[in-house]
Protein backbone atom coordinates (compact mmCIF):
# COMPACT_ATOMS: atom_id res chain seq x y z
CA UNK A 1 0.00 0.00 0.00
CA UNK A 2 2.74 2.42 0.95
CA UNK A 3 6.22 2.25 -0.48
CA UNK A 4 8.97 4.53 0.66
CA UNK A 5 12.15 4.47 -1.38
CA UNK A 6 15.33 6.19 -0.39
CA UNK A 7 13.45 9.07 1.15
CA UNK A 8 15.68 11.97 2.20
CA UNK A 9 14.88 15.42 3.48
CA UNK A 10 17.47 18.07 4.13
CA UNK A 11 16.97 21.50 5.61
CA UNK A 12 20.07 23.35 4.52
CA UNK A 13 22.93 21.51 6.21
CA UNK A 14 20.68 19.57 8.55
CA UNK A 15 19.50 16.14 7.40
CA UNK A 16 16.11 15.46 8.93
CA UNK A 17 15.65 12.04 7.40
CA UNK A 18 18.29 10.05 5.65
CA UNK A 19 17.40 7.52 2.90
CA UNK A 20 14.47 5.78 4.53
CA UNK A 21 13.22 2.59 2.92
CA UNK A 22 10.17 0.73 4.08
CA UNK A 23 6.87 -0.64 2.86
CA UNK A 24 3.52 -0.97 4.54
CA UNK A 25 1.19 -3.72 3.41
CA UNK A 26 -2.49 -3.12 2.89
CA UNK A 27 -4.36 -3.45 6.17
CA UNK A 28 -1.24 -3.34 8.27
CA UNK A 29 -0.86 -1.20 11.40
CA UNK A 30 2.66 0.12 11.51
CA UNK A 31 4.18 1.80 14.53
CA UNK A 32 6.71 4.52 14.05
CA UNK A 33 8.90 4.90 17.05
CA UNK A 34 11.66 7.30 17.87
CA UNK A 35 12.86 9.98 20.24
CA UNK A 36 11.80 13.55 19.69
CA UNK A 37 13.40 15.00 16.60
CA UNK A 38 14.09 11.61 15.05
CA UNK A 39 12.25 12.51 11.85
CA UNK A 40 8.89 10.87 12.50
CA UNK A 41 6.82 13.95 11.78
CA UNK A 42 8.96 14.87 8.79
CA UNK A 43 8.37 11.45 7.25
CA UNK A 44 4.65 11.73 7.87
CA UNK A 45 4.54 15.23 6.44
CA UNK A 46 6.17 13.96 3.27
CA UNK A 47 3.84 10.96 2.98
CA UNK A 48 0.84 13.26 3.22
CA UNK A 49 2.19 15.76 0.74
CA UNK A 50 2.59 18.62 3.20
CA UNK A 51 6.26 19.05 2.41
CA UNK A 52 8.38 17.75 -0.42
CA UNK A 53 11.33 15.39 -0.45
CA UNK A 54 14.92 16.29 -1.20
CA UNK A 55 15.58 12.85 -2.67
CA UNK A 56 13.76 9.58 -3.10
CA UNK A 57 10.06 9.01 -3.48
CA UNK A 58 6.98 7.84 -1.66
CA UNK A 59 4.29 5.80 -3.37
CA UNK A 60 0.79 5.28 -2.02
CA UNK A 61 -1.08 2.52 -3.80
CA UNK A 62 1.50 2.76 -6.56
CA UNK A 63 1.02 6.50 -7.12
CA UNK A 64 3.85 8.95 -6.48
CA UNK A 65 2.81 11.69 -4.08
CA UNK A 66 4.76 14.34 -5.96
CA UNK A 67 3.45 13.36 -9.37
CA UNK A 68 -0.24 13.08 -8.58
CA UNK A 69 -0.69 14.79 -5.24
CA UNK A 70 -4.45 15.09 -5.48
CA UNK A 71 -5.01 11.38 -6.14
CA UNK A 72 -2.79 10.43 -3.23
CA UNK A 73 -4.24 13.00 -0.85
CA UNK A 74 -7.70 11.57 -1.45
CA UNK A 75 -6.49 8.20 -0.18
CA UNK A 76 -4.92 9.55 3.00
CA UNK A 77 -6.38 10.82 6.23
CA UNK A 78 -3.85 12.71 8.31
CA UNK A 79 -3.85 13.66 11.96
CA UNK A 80 -0.80 15.89 12.47
CA UNK A 81 0.99 16.32 15.76
CA UNK A 82 -1.05 19.44 16.48
CA UNK A 83 -4.60 18.78 15.33
CA UNK A 84 -5.33 21.41 12.65
CA UNK A 85 -8.48 22.87 14.17
CA UNK A 86 -10.16 26.23 13.75
CA UNK A 87 -11.04 27.50 17.20
CA UNK A 88 -13.73 29.83 15.93
CA UNK A 89 -15.80 27.04 14.40
CA UNK A 90 -18.14 24.61 16.06
CA UNK A 91 -17.41 20.92 15.63
CA UNK A 92 -20.23 20.68 13.09
CA UNK A 93 -19.05 23.63 11.06
CA UNK A 94 -15.52 22.31 11.12
CA UNK A 95 -16.42 18.83 9.88
CA UNK A 96 -18.62 20.45 7.26
CA UNK A 97 -15.66 22.45 6.01
CA UNK A 98 -13.42 19.39 5.98
CA UNK A 99 -16.04 17.48 3.98
CA UNK A 100 -16.13 20.37 1.51
CA UNK A 101 -12.41 20.58 0.92
CA UNK A 102 -12.20 16.80 0.63
CA UNK A 103 -14.83 17.06 -2.07
CA UNK A 104 -17.67 15.04 -0.54
CA UNK A 105 -21.09 15.44 -2.11
CA UNK A 106 -23.97 16.77 -0.08
CA UNK A 107 -25.66 13.42 0.39
CA UNK A 108 -22.44 11.70 1.46
CA UNK A 109 -21.66 14.53 3.81
CA UNK A 110 -24.42 14.18 6.34
CA UNK A 111 -24.21 10.43 6.47
CA UNK A 112 -20.45 10.24 6.90
CA UNK A 113 -20.45 13.04 9.46
CA UNK A 114 -22.89 11.21 11.68
CA UNK A 115 -21.01 7.97 11.34
CA UNK A 116 -17.68 9.57 12.21
CA UNK A 117 -19.04 11.53 15.16
CA UNK A 118 -20.46 8.29 16.45
CA UNK A 119 -17.19 6.48 15.98
CA UNK A 120 -14.97 8.97 17.79
CA UNK A 121 -17.77 9.93 20.19
CA UNK A 122 -17.94 13.66 19.77
CA UNK A 123 -21.70 13.80 19.14
CA UNK A 124 -22.32 15.50 22.47
CA UNK A 125 -20.03 18.44 21.68
CA UNK A 126 -20.99 18.94 18.04
CA UNK A 127 -22.54 22.34 18.63
CA UNK A 128 -19.69 23.71 20.75
CA UNK A 129 -16.87 25.97 19.63
CA UNK A 130 -13.68 23.99 19.15
CA UNK A 131 -11.57 26.43 21.14
CA UNK A 132 -13.67 25.67 24.24
CA UNK A 133 -13.15 21.92 24.04
CA UNK A 134 -10.77 19.97 26.25
CA UNK A 135 -7.55 18.59 24.85
CA UNK A 136 -9.03 15.10 24.64
CA UNK A 137 -12.01 16.25 22.63
CA UNK A 138 -9.80 18.36 20.37
CA UNK A 139 -7.69 15.30 19.66
CA UNK A 140 -10.81 13.34 18.81
CA UNK A 141 -12.11 16.07 16.51
CA UNK A 142 -8.70 15.95 14.83
CA UNK A 143 -9.10 12.23 14.39
CA UNK A 144 -12.62 12.74 13.04
CA UNK A 145 -11.16 15.11 10.46
CA UNK A 146 -8.72 12.44 9.33
CA UNK A 147 -11.55 9.94 8.91
CA UNK A 148 -13.62 12.20 6.66
CA UNK A 149 -13.96 10.75 3.17
CA UNK A 150 -13.18 7.25 4.42
CA UNK A 151 -9.54 7.20 3.26
CA UNK A 152 -7.83 3.83 2.94
CA UNK A 153 -4.69 5.04 4.67
CA UNK A 154 -4.59 6.75 8.04
CA UNK A 155 -1.48 8.55 9.19
CA UNK A 156 -1.62 9.49 12.84
CA UNK A 157 1.14 11.54 14.42
CA UNK A 158 1.23 10.92 18.16
CA UNK A 159 -2.53 10.47 18.45
CA UNK A 160 -2.58 9.98 22.21
CA UNK A 161 -0.25 12.74 23.31
CA UNK A 162 -1.68 14.93 26.05
CA UNK A 163 -4.60 12.67 26.85
CA UNK A 164 -5.48 11.22 30.22
CA UNK A 165 -5.13 7.44 30.78
CA UNK A 166 -8.80 6.73 30.17
CA UNK A 167 -8.81 8.67 26.91
CA UNK A 168 -5.60 6.98 25.83
CA UNK A 169 -7.26 3.59 26.20
CA UNK A 170 -10.30 4.83 24.30
CA UNK A 171 -8.26 6.19 21.40
CA UNK A 172 -6.12 3.07 21.37
CA UNK A 173 -9.20 0.85 21.11
CA UNK A 174 -10.53 3.06 18.39
CA UNK A 175 -7.30 2.73 16.43
CA UNK A 176 -7.34 -1.05 16.88
CA UNK A 177 -10.85 -1.09 15.48
CA UNK A 178 -9.93 1.15 12.56
CA UNK A 179 -6.97 -1.12 11.88
CA UNK A 180 -9.35 -3.83 10.74
CA UNK A 181 -10.16 -2.10 7.48
CA UNK A 182 -7.54 0.65 7.18
CA UNK A 183 -3.82 0.79 6.61
CA UNK A 184 -2.45 2.79 9.52
CA UNK A 185 0.87 4.40 10.27
CA UNK A 186 1.06 5.58 13.84
CA UNK A 187 3.88 7.44 15.47
CA UNK A 188 4.59 7.61 19.13
CA UNK A 189 7.29 7.78 21.68
CA UNK A 190 5.18 5.83 24.13
CA UNK A 191 6.26 2.27 23.58
CA UNK A 192 3.56 0.33 25.34
CA UNK A 193 1.04 1.96 23.06
CA UNK A 194 2.83 0.87 19.93
CA UNK A 195 3.31 -2.68 21.15
CA UNK A 196 -0.38 -3.00 21.90
CA UNK A 197 -1.79 -1.58 18.71
CA UNK A 198 0.79 -2.26 16.03
CA UNK A 199 1.62 -5.40 14.13
CA UNK A 200 5.01 -4.08 13.15
CA UNK A 201 7.31 -1.45 14.58
CA UNK A 202 9.92 0.70 12.89
CA UNK A 203 12.34 2.40 15.22
CA UNK A 204 13.86 5.50 13.77
CA UNK A 205 16.63 7.61 15.21
CA UNK A 206 18.37 10.65 13.76
CA UNK A 207 16.61 10.16 10.46
CA UNK A 208 17.58 6.53 10.01
CA UNK A 209 15.77 3.25 10.54
CA UNK A 210 17.56 1.36 13.30
CA UNK A 211 15.16 -1.56 13.73
CA UNK A 212 12.07 -2.93 12.02
CA UNK A 213 10.15 -5.99 13.19
CA UNK A 214 7.14 -7.17 15.16
CA UNK A 215 7.14 -6.02 18.78
CA UNK A 216 7.62 -9.65 19.95
CA UNK A 217 10.54 -10.35 17.65
CA UNK A 218 12.16 -7.12 18.65
CA UNK A 219 12.15 -8.12 22.29
CA UNK A 220 13.27 -11.65 21.47
CA UNK A 221 16.04 -10.64 19.13
CA UNK A 222 17.71 -8.36 21.56
CA UNK A 223 17.16 -10.52 24.60
CA UNK A 224 20.63 -11.82 25.51
CA UNK A 225 20.08 -15.09 27.39
CA UNK A 226 17.33 -15.49 29.93
CA UNK A 227 17.75 -13.21 32.85
CA UNK A 228 15.53 -13.30 35.88
CA UNK A 229 15.34 -11.71 39.23
CA UNK A 230 14.65 -13.85 42.27
CA UNK A 231 13.83 -12.79 45.81
CA UNK A 232 14.57 -15.33 48.52
CA UNK A 233 14.17 -15.18 52.31
CA UNK A 234 17.55 -16.08 53.73
CA UNK A 235 21.11 -14.88 54.30
CA UNK A 236 22.80 -13.26 51.30
CA UNK A 237 26.01 -15.17 50.98
CA UNK A 238 24.63 -18.66 51.48
CA UNK A 239 21.73 -18.08 49.12
CA UNK A 240 24.09 -16.76 46.44
CA UNK A 241 26.39 -19.72 46.94
CA UNK A 242 23.52 -22.22 46.54
CA UNK A 243 22.31 -20.55 43.37
CA UNK A 244 25.76 -20.47 41.82
CA UNK A 245 26.03 -24.22 42.28
CA UNK A 246 22.94 -24.97 40.17
CA UNK A 247 23.73 -26.46 36.78
CA UNK A 248 23.18 -23.96 33.96
CA UNK A 249 23.63 -20.76 35.89
CA UNK A 250 25.96 -18.44 34.05
CA UNK A 251 25.93 -15.57 36.45
CA UNK A 252 24.40 -14.68 39.80
CA UNK A 253 24.62 -11.24 41.27
CA UNK A 254 23.43 -9.70 44.50
CA UNK A 255 20.99 -6.93 43.93
CA UNK A 256 20.55 -5.70 47.50
CA UNK A 257 17.62 -6.21 49.81
CA UNK A 258 14.23 -4.60 49.38
CA UNK A 259 12.38 -6.42 52.16
CA UNK A 260 13.70 -7.23 55.60
CA UNK A 261 15.34 -10.65 55.83
CA UNK A 262 15.30 -11.20 52.09
CA UNK A 263 17.75 -10.78 49.27
CA UNK A 264 17.28 -10.02 45.56
CA UNK A 265 19.52 -11.86 43.18
CA UNK A 266 19.80 -11.53 39.42
CA UNK A 267 20.31 -14.92 37.85
CA UNK A 268 21.42 -15.37 34.29
CA UNK A 269 21.31 -18.81 32.75
CA UNK A 270 22.73 -20.48 29.70
CA UNK A 271 20.08 -19.84 26.98
CA UNK A 272 19.07 -23.45 26.31
CA UNK A 273 18.52 -24.47 29.93
CA UNK A 274 15.41 -23.54 31.88
CA UNK A 275 16.72 -23.20 35.42
CA UNK A 276 13.45 -22.31 37.14
CA UNK A 277 12.71 -25.83 38.40
CA UNK A 278 16.23 -26.63 39.61
CA UNK A 279 16.28 -23.24 41.25
CA UNK A 280 13.05 -24.00 43.11
CA UNK A 281 14.28 -27.38 44.36
CA UNK A 282 17.65 -26.04 45.36
CA UNK A 283 16.18 -23.21 47.37
CA UNK A 284 13.59 -25.50 48.91
CA UNK A 285 16.31 -27.96 49.94
CA UNK A 286 18.29 -25.15 51.53
CA UNK A 287 15.00 -23.90 53.05
CA UNK A 288 15.33 -20.39 51.67
CA UNK A 289 11.78 -19.87 50.35
CA UNK A 290 11.43 -18.07 46.99
CA UNK A 291 9.16 -15.07 47.45
CA UNK A 292 9.34 -13.77 43.88
CA UNK A 293 10.65 -14.98 40.55
CA UNK A 294 10.41 -12.64 37.59
CA UNK A 295 11.75 -12.91 34.09
CA UNK A 296 13.70 -9.87 32.99
CA UNK A 297 12.92 -10.14 29.25
CA UNK A 298 13.53 -6.79 27.62
CA UNK A 299 10.59 -4.46 27.39
CA UNK A 300 10.17 -2.20 24.42
CA UNK A 301 11.60 0.60 26.53
CA UNK A 302 14.85 -1.33 26.90
CA UNK A 303 14.98 -2.14 23.23
CA UNK A 304 14.28 1.43 22.38
CA UNK A 305 17.05 2.74 24.58
CA UNK A 306 19.38 0.01 23.42
CA UNK A 307 18.96 0.64 19.70
CA UNK A 308 18.94 4.38 19.95
CA UNK A 309 22.05 4.30 22.12
CA UNK A 310 23.90 1.92 19.84
CA UNK A 311 23.25 4.34 17.06
CA UNK A 312 24.80 7.18 19.03
CA UNK A 313 27.83 5.11 19.87
CA UNK A 314 28.44 4.21 16.24
CA UNK A 315 28.47 7.88 15.42
Amino acid sequence: MIQVENLTKRYGQHTAIDSLNFTVESGEVLGFLGPNGAGKSTTMNILTGYISTTEGRALVNGVDILEEPETVKKMIGYLPEFPPLYGDMTVNEYLDFVCDIKGLSKSEKKQSQEKIMDLVRIGDVQKRLIRNLSKGYKQRVGLAQALVGNPKVLILDEPTVGLDPKQIIEIRNLISNLGKDHTIILSSHILSEVSEVCERVIIINKGKIVASDTPENLSKGLDDGSKMIVRVAGPEKQALKVIKEIHGVKLAELQGSKEKGTVDIIVESVPEIDIRKPLFYAMSKASYPILMLKSMGLTLEDIFLQVTNQETEVR
Binding site: Y50, I51, S52, P80, F82, I101
Partner: protein, 287 residues
Protein backbone atom coordinates in the same frame (compact mmCIF):
# COMPACT_ATOMS: atom_id res chain seq x y z
CA UNK B 1 -12.59 26.97 -3.81
CA UNK B 2 -16.11 27.88 -2.76
CA UNK B 3 -15.62 26.12 0.56
CA UNK B 4 -12.54 28.23 1.31
CA UNK B 5 -14.38 31.44 0.43
CA UNK B 6 -17.26 30.43 2.68
CA UNK B 7 -14.93 29.60 5.54
CA UNK B 8 -12.99 32.85 5.23
CA UNK B 9 -16.16 34.91 5.12
CA UNK B 10 -17.37 33.19 8.25
CA UNK B 11 -14.08 33.92 9.98
CA UNK B 12 -14.33 37.59 9.05
CA UNK B 13 -17.74 37.86 10.64
CA UNK B 14 -17.35 35.57 13.63
CA UNK B 15 -14.33 37.61 14.70
CA UNK B 16 -14.23 41.38 15.04
CA UNK B 17 -12.20 41.90 11.86
CA UNK B 18 -15.07 42.06 9.40
CA UNK B 19 -17.10 44.41 11.55
CA UNK B 20 -14.21 46.74 12.32
CA UNK B 21 -13.38 46.84 8.64
CA UNK B 22 -16.95 47.63 7.64
CA UNK B 23 -17.39 50.18 10.42
CA UNK B 24 -14.21 52.11 9.66
CA UNK B 25 -14.70 51.95 5.93
CA UNK B 26 -18.28 53.14 6.12
CA UNK B 27 -17.47 55.78 8.73
CA UNK B 28 -14.80 57.44 6.60
CA UNK B 29 -16.71 57.23 3.33
CA UNK B 30 -19.77 58.59 5.14
CA UNK B 31 -17.75 61.37 6.69
CA UNK B 32 -16.26 62.49 3.39
CA UNK B 33 -19.58 62.20 1.61
CA UNK B 34 -21.23 64.39 4.23
CA UNK B 35 -18.45 66.98 4.25
CA UNK B 36 -17.72 67.19 0.54
CA UNK B 37 -21.05 66.48 -1.13
CA UNK B 38 -23.74 67.34 1.36
CA UNK B 39 -21.88 70.02 3.31
CA UNK B 40 -20.22 71.50 0.23
CA UNK B 41 -23.35 71.12 -1.88
CA UNK B 42 -21.21 69.54 -4.60
CA UNK B 43 -22.39 66.92 -7.07
CA UNK B 44 -18.84 65.68 -7.65
CA UNK B 45 -18.86 62.24 -6.00
CA UNK B 46 -15.60 61.11 -7.61
CA UNK B 47 -13.90 63.56 -5.34
CA UNK B 48 -15.00 61.51 -2.34
CA UNK B 49 -13.60 58.26 -3.71
CA UNK B 50 -10.24 59.79 -4.52
CA UNK B 51 -10.08 61.54 -1.17
CA UNK B 52 -10.63 58.40 0.84
CA UNK B 53 -7.83 56.40 -0.77
CA UNK B 54 -5.92 56.70 2.50
CA UNK B 55 -8.43 54.25 3.97
CA UNK B 56 -6.61 51.47 2.15
CA UNK B 57 -3.63 51.97 4.42
CA UNK B 58 -5.77 50.80 7.35
CA UNK B 59 -8.36 48.63 5.70
CA UNK B 60 -6.20 46.40 3.55
CA UNK B 61 -3.89 45.16 6.33
CA UNK B 62 -6.99 44.52 8.42
CA UNK B 63 -8.42 42.28 5.71
CA UNK B 64 -5.28 40.45 4.72
CA UNK B 65 -3.03 40.13 7.78
CA UNK B 66 -4.70 36.99 9.03
CA UNK B 67 -5.30 35.18 5.75
CA UNK B 68 -2.21 32.98 5.49
CA UNK B 69 -0.13 33.99 8.51
CA UNK B 70 -2.64 32.58 10.97
CA UNK B 71 -3.01 29.29 9.10
CA UNK B 72 0.74 28.79 9.32
CA UNK B 73 0.85 29.71 12.98
CA UNK B 74 -2.04 27.48 14.05
CA UNK B 75 -0.73 24.71 11.77
CA UNK B 76 -4.13 24.54 10.12
CA UNK B 77 -2.31 24.85 6.82
CA UNK B 78 -1.52 21.17 7.35
CA UNK B 79 -5.19 20.42 6.90
CA UNK B 80 -5.51 22.55 3.78
CA UNK B 81 -2.29 21.39 2.15
CA UNK B 82 -2.85 17.69 2.83
CA UNK B 83 -6.42 17.78 1.57
CA UNK B 84 -7.12 17.11 -2.11
CA UNK B 85 -7.80 20.84 -2.54
CA UNK B 86 -5.21 22.31 -4.94
CA UNK B 87 -2.98 24.98 -3.43
CA UNK B 88 -3.97 27.56 -6.01
CA UNK B 89 -7.66 27.09 -5.20
CA UNK B 90 -6.89 27.69 -1.55
CA UNK B 91 -4.98 30.91 -2.21
CA UNK B 92 -7.45 32.22 -4.78
CA UNK B 93 -10.33 31.35 -2.45
CA UNK B 94 -8.78 33.37 0.33
CA UNK B 95 -8.10 36.27 -2.00
CA UNK B 96 -11.64 36.26 -3.33
CA UNK B 97 -13.06 36.20 0.21
CA UNK B 98 -11.12 39.35 1.11
CA UNK B 99 -12.18 40.94 -2.16
CA UNK B 100 -15.79 39.98 -1.45
CA UNK B 101 -15.77 41.74 1.91
CA UNK B 102 -14.26 44.82 0.29
CA UNK B 103 -16.84 44.62 -2.48
CA UNK B 104 -19.63 44.36 0.08
CA UNK B 105 -18.44 47.48 1.87
CA UNK B 106 -18.11 49.33 -1.41
CA UNK B 107 -21.59 48.23 -2.47
CA UNK B 108 -23.06 49.77 0.68
CA UNK B 109 -21.46 53.12 -0.14
CA UNK B 110 -23.38 53.08 -3.41
CA UNK B 111 -26.24 54.45 -1.34
CA UNK B 112 -24.52 57.86 -1.39
CA UNK B 113 -24.78 58.51 -5.13
CA UNK B 114 -28.35 57.24 -4.96
CA UNK B 115 -29.08 59.81 -2.26
CA UNK B 116 -27.52 62.49 -4.43
CA UNK B 117 -29.54 61.45 -7.46
CA UNK B 118 -32.72 62.27 -5.54
CA UNK B 119 -31.41 65.79 -4.99
CA UNK B 120 -30.37 66.58 -8.53
CA UNK B 121 -28.78 65.34 -11.71
CA UNK B 122 -25.56 63.40 -11.41
CA UNK B 123 -23.39 61.73 -13.99
CA UNK B 124 -23.89 57.99 -13.47
CA UNK B 125 -21.31 57.04 -16.07
CA UNK B 126 -18.55 58.89 -14.27
CA UNK B 127 -19.53 57.50 -10.90
CA UNK B 128 -19.68 53.90 -12.05
CA UNK B 129 -16.36 54.28 -13.86
CA UNK B 130 -14.87 55.70 -10.72
CA UNK B 131 -16.25 52.83 -8.66
CA UNK B 132 -14.76 50.26 -11.01
CA UNK B 133 -11.39 51.96 -10.69
CA UNK B 134 -11.63 52.18 -6.92
CA UNK B 135 -12.61 48.52 -6.67
CA UNK B 136 -9.77 47.30 -8.90
CA UNK B 137 -7.33 49.52 -7.05
CA UNK B 138 -8.42 47.92 -3.78
CA UNK B 139 -8.13 44.43 -5.30
CA UNK B 140 -4.53 45.13 -6.32
CA UNK B 141 -3.63 46.27 -2.82
CA UNK B 142 -5.38 43.28 -1.26
CA UNK B 143 -3.21 41.04 -3.45
CA UNK B 144 -0.13 42.75 -2.03
CA UNK B 145 -1.43 42.19 1.50
CA UNK B 146 -2.17 38.53 0.74
CA UNK B 147 1.38 38.04 -0.46
CA UNK B 148 2.86 39.63 2.66
CA UNK B 149 0.64 37.43 4.82
CA UNK B 150 2.13 34.36 3.16
CA UNK B 151 5.67 35.42 4.05
CA UNK B 152 5.29 35.52 7.83
CA UNK B 153 3.59 33.47 10.54
CA UNK B 154 2.82 36.50 12.63
CA UNK B 155 -0.32 38.51 12.00
CA UNK B 156 1.08 41.66 13.53
CA UNK B 157 4.21 41.50 11.42
CA UNK B 158 2.03 40.94 8.37
CA UNK B 159 -0.13 43.95 9.26
CA UNK B 160 2.80 46.29 9.90
CA UNK B 161 4.64 45.15 6.79
CA UNK B 162 1.54 45.58 4.66
CA UNK B 163 0.90 49.02 6.11
CA UNK B 164 4.49 50.09 5.43
CA UNK B 165 4.40 48.76 1.89
CA UNK B 166 1.14 50.54 1.13
CA UNK B 167 2.49 53.73 2.67
CA UNK B 168 5.54 53.51 0.42
CA UNK B 169 3.31 52.94 -2.59
CA UNK B 170 1.25 55.95 -1.54
CA UNK B 171 4.33 58.14 -1.25
CA UNK B 172 5.92 56.68 -4.36
CA UNK B 173 4.89 59.50 -6.68
CA UNK B 174 6.40 62.05 -4.33
CA UNK B 175 9.55 59.95 -4.06
CA UNK B 176 9.82 59.62 -7.83
CA UNK B 177 9.83 63.43 -8.14
CA UNK B 178 13.04 63.56 -6.16
CA UNK B 179 14.92 60.77 -7.92
CA UNK B 180 17.96 61.66 -10.08
CA UNK B 181 17.32 61.38 -13.81
CA UNK B 182 20.84 61.61 -15.25
CA UNK B 183 22.50 58.85 -17.25
CA UNK B 184 25.12 57.81 -14.66
CA UNK B 185 22.59 57.20 -11.93
CA UNK B 186 20.51 55.20 -14.41
CA UNK B 187 23.45 52.92 -15.13
CA UNK B 188 24.31 52.62 -11.45
CA UNK B 189 20.70 51.78 -10.67
CA UNK B 190 20.66 49.02 -13.28
CA UNK B 191 23.92 47.66 -11.88
CA UNK B 192 22.51 47.64 -8.34
CA UNK B 193 19.49 45.68 -9.56
CA UNK B 194 21.71 43.14 -11.33
CA UNK B 195 23.90 42.67 -8.26
CA UNK B 196 20.86 42.52 -5.99
CA UNK B 197 19.40 39.80 -8.18
CA UNK B 198 22.65 37.85 -7.98
CA UNK B 199 22.65 38.10 -4.18
CA UNK B 200 19.04 36.97 -4.06
CA UNK B 201 19.87 33.97 -6.23
CA UNK B 202 22.79 33.16 -3.98
CA UNK B 203 20.61 33.13 -0.89
CA UNK B 204 17.90 30.98 -2.46
CA UNK B 205 20.11 28.44 -4.25
CA UNK B 206 23.35 28.72 -2.22
CA UNK B 207 25.15 28.24 -5.50
CA UNK B 208 27.92 30.83 -5.84
CA UNK B 209 28.61 30.05 -9.52
CA UNK B 210 25.04 30.49 -10.71
CA UNK B 211 24.73 33.68 -8.67
CA UNK B 212 28.01 35.16 -9.87
CA UNK B 213 27.17 34.13 -13.44
CA UNK B 214 23.80 35.85 -13.30
CA UNK B 215 25.36 39.01 -11.88
CA UNK B 216 28.05 39.00 -14.54
CA UNK B 217 25.61 38.45 -17.41
CA UNK B 218 23.49 41.30 -16.01
CA UNK B 219 26.44 43.68 -15.86
CA UNK B 220 27.59 42.76 -19.36
CA UNK B 221 24.06 43.30 -20.67
CA UNK B 222 24.02 46.73 -19.04
CA UNK B 223 27.35 47.61 -20.67
CA UNK B 224 26.15 46.41 -24.10
CA UNK B 225 22.93 48.35 -23.60
CA UNK B 226 24.97 51.45 -22.86
CA UNK B 227 26.99 51.09 -26.06
CA UNK B 228 23.96 50.47 -28.25
CA UNK B 229 21.56 53.02 -26.80
CA UNK B 230 22.91 55.18 -24.00
CA UNK B 231 19.77 57.31 -23.85
CA UNK B 232 17.93 54.29 -22.44
CA UNK B 233 19.52 55.08 -19.08
CA UNK B 234 18.19 58.64 -18.95
CA UNK B 235 15.70 58.73 -16.13
CA UNK B 236 15.71 54.95 -15.80
CA UNK B 237 15.24 54.99 -12.05
CA UNK B 238 12.03 57.05 -12.01
CA UNK B 239 10.71 55.02 -14.94
CA UNK B 240 11.17 51.72 -13.12
CA UNK B 241 9.54 53.02 -9.96
CA UNK B 242 6.70 54.34 -12.05
CA UNK B 243 5.75 50.72 -12.81
CA UNK B 244 4.77 50.33 -9.18
CA UNK B 245 2.88 53.57 -8.93
CA UNK B 246 -0.59 52.25 -8.21
CA UNK B 247 -1.90 55.58 -7.02
CA UNK B 248 -1.02 57.57 -10.15
CA UNK B 249 -2.92 54.99 -12.23
CA UNK B 250 -6.05 56.11 -10.43
CA UNK B 251 -5.91 59.65 -11.86
CA UNK B 252 -8.00 58.77 -14.92
CA UNK B 253 -10.77 57.34 -12.78
CA UNK B 254 -10.77 60.41 -10.61
CA UNK B 255 -11.65 62.47 -13.67
CA UNK B 256 -14.43 60.03 -14.42
CA UNK B 257 -12.67 58.44 -17.37
CA UNK B 258 -12.83 54.67 -17.63
CA UNK B 259 -9.77 53.85 -19.73
CA UNK B 260 -8.53 50.42 -20.47
CA UNK B 261 -4.85 50.65 -19.56
CA UNK B 262 -5.20 51.27 -15.80
CA UNK B 263 -7.91 48.58 -15.64
CA UNK B 264 -5.54 46.08 -17.23
CA UNK B 265 -2.72 47.35 -15.06
CA UNK B 266 -4.64 46.72 -11.81
CA UNK B 267 -5.85 43.30 -12.91
CA UNK B 268 -2.35 42.26 -13.98
CA UNK B 269 -0.92 43.57 -10.74
CA UNK B 270 -3.45 41.56 -8.71
CA UNK B 271 -2.85 38.37 -10.68
CA UNK B 272 0.91 38.78 -10.33
CA UNK B 273 0.73 39.02 -6.55
CA UNK B 274 -1.72 36.14 -6.19
CA UNK B 275 0.64 34.12 -8.35
CA UNK B 276 3.62 35.18 -6.22
CA UNK B 277 1.70 34.10 -3.12
CA UNK B 278 1.14 30.64 -4.57
CA UNK B 279 4.84 30.45 -5.46
CA UNK B 280 5.80 31.57 -1.97
CA UNK B 281 3.78 28.77 -0.36
CA UNK B 282 5.09 26.28 -2.89
CA UNK B 283 8.63 27.35 -2.07
CA UNK B 284 8.03 26.91 1.66
CA UNK B 285 7.11 23.29 1.00
CA UNK B 286 10.21 22.69 -1.06
CA UNK B 287 12.75 24.32 1.19
Amino acid sequence: MLSVIKKELRTYFTSMTGYIFLASFLFFTGLFFTLLNLGGASPNYNNVLSNIQFIFLLAVPMLTMRLLAEEAKQKTDQLLLTSPLPLKDMVIGKYLAAVAVFFGALAITFVYPIIMSTLGDISWGEIIGSYIGFFLFGCALIAVGLFISSVTENQVVAAVATFTTLLLLWLLDAIIQGLPIDRTSGVLFAAVIAIGLAILIYFTTKNIYVAAGTGLVGLVAIAIGYIIKASFYDGLMPRVFQWFSLYSRYNDFELGVLSLSPVIYYITFSCAFVFLTIQMLEKKRWS
